[in-house]
């Protein structure tokens, strides 16, 4: 096979090549072209990034995931990309959440409305003041502390490796109020590790990672408590991957937990 007969869909060739499943007869012309064709080489680098992102967001099928772990990740160069990609994608997820938070907070539209309809805004503000006053009186009468403390919810999740995501037995949680914290308590039978790591995934995309979590004894079993800010939990299905941290600082997958956040 010469260089001109390379698969026109070079992206597929690159994926196979990077995962170590491109036949030798196709590998040689591909590698030779990499050395002399800059655009072709750029294509390889972009495919590397795509593969890393797909792996990190759990989108690779079983065969490709295994090849990724046994072949692609062998080299230091690819390990660098994986480590960076993990941090980068998590950063972007947080940035996205932060951006959404800011978007809700934006006030120019209110100011514009005030400029255009001052009477309407004044009336709305008056109604608002009255509502606040009524709620304050109600709370005072019920002797509920009016301090704006951060609400904390707790929910215990049983291991669910054998359970399909979204099945009837999925634990449900009503969308937590803003400015609250949800403690997801992951049950484990034995405490075999010095600490634990939990990856929070939504629709197979890594959303956040919680490191250095201890296990606490609870009756006949243990729990790993993950405090998740409510801003990270929107309506949808979530998967929590629990890994134990070995003394060598390597993570070992233990179990997964399914959670559905409802309206």
């Amino acid at each position: 096979m010469d260089m001109s007969t390379l698969n026109k869909n070079s992206n597929d060739d690159f994926r196979h090549y990077l995962l170590g499943k491109l036949p030798e007869s196709q590998r040689e012309p591909l590698e030779q072209r990499l050395l002399i064709d800059s655009n072709f080489f750029d294509e390889l680098l972009t495919t590397e990034d795509d593969l890393v992102d797909e792996y990190l967001s759990g989108k690779l099928n079983t065969e490709d995931r295994e090849l990724f772990e046994s072949h692609f990740s062998k080299s230091d160069e690819h390990q660098r990309k994986i480590q960076f990609g993990n941090g980068f994608l998590q950063y972007l997820n947080l940035e996205n959440v932060r951006k959404q938070g800011v978007a809700v907070d934006v006030r120019p539209s209110f100011l514009n409305l005030f400029r255009r309809r001052p009477g309407l805004v004044a009336a709305a503000m008056l109604v608002g003041i009255l509502v606040v006053a009524c709620v304050s009186i109600f709370l005072y009468r019920r002797q509920i502390p009016a301090a704006n403390t951060k609400q904390i919810l707790a929910i215990t999740l049983a291991p669910g490796s054998a359970r399909a995501e979204g099945s009837d037995s999925t634990r449900r949680l009503q969308r937590p109020p803003a400015n609250s914290s949800v403690h997801l308590q992951l049950e484990i039978a034995k405490n075999e590790y010095r600490s634990y790591r939990v990856d929070l995934l939504r629709e197979n995309q890594l959303f956040a990672t919680f490191d250095a979590l201890p296990a606490e004894a609870r009756n006949s079993h243990f729990i790993v408590d993950v405090a998740v800010d409510s801003s990270l939990l929107d309506v949808g299905d979530y998967r929590l991957k629990l890994s134990g941290m070995k003394d060598s600082n390597q993570a070992e997958f233990k179990d997964q937990y399914i959670l559905r956040v409802t309206q």
Partner: protein
Amino acid sequence: MKKNWVLSQEAFDVLLDWLDHDRDQAGRRYEEIRERLVRIFASRGCSGATDLADETINRVASKVVEVRETYSGDPALFFYVVANNIHKEYLRRKPPPASPISTSPPNLEKQFYCLEQCLDQLSHENRSLVIQYYQDDKKAKIERRRQIAERLGIAPNALRIRACRIRASLLECVEKCLEFDAD
């Protein structure tokens, strides 16, 4: 290759001259070939791909005086022949098995800090491009990328390569930032 052969300045100059008579052009070609050899060894699943690439270059440099008169064709392909030999030797040495993937950086908080610093060093256009390009998921991502390419007036593939280059520069910058902090 002669044992204990060391790449001398003279041999390196001959190698560069073989790649291109223009010294600057030769330097760029040398860097390109080295980077691509590293990727080739990495893609073959070799650990220590950089060392193998350097070993290849040293071996080519040790042969270049005798080869340059008779060899015709792109010198990069001669590197490839030598790289294949180096790879066979590597396999004979029984390379270590793959170590488990560690996706978790040693200090995520520090990496976020470095990412912020490095993103700030990018031009406004590149910063916004790399954030928008890699953000979101599924259909939203595809649509967003289409819109970015349209806005910039470039083909989707050109956008893909541009985003990849910015990401690569971020990786370099973050690694330097983390190293600096560790010192």
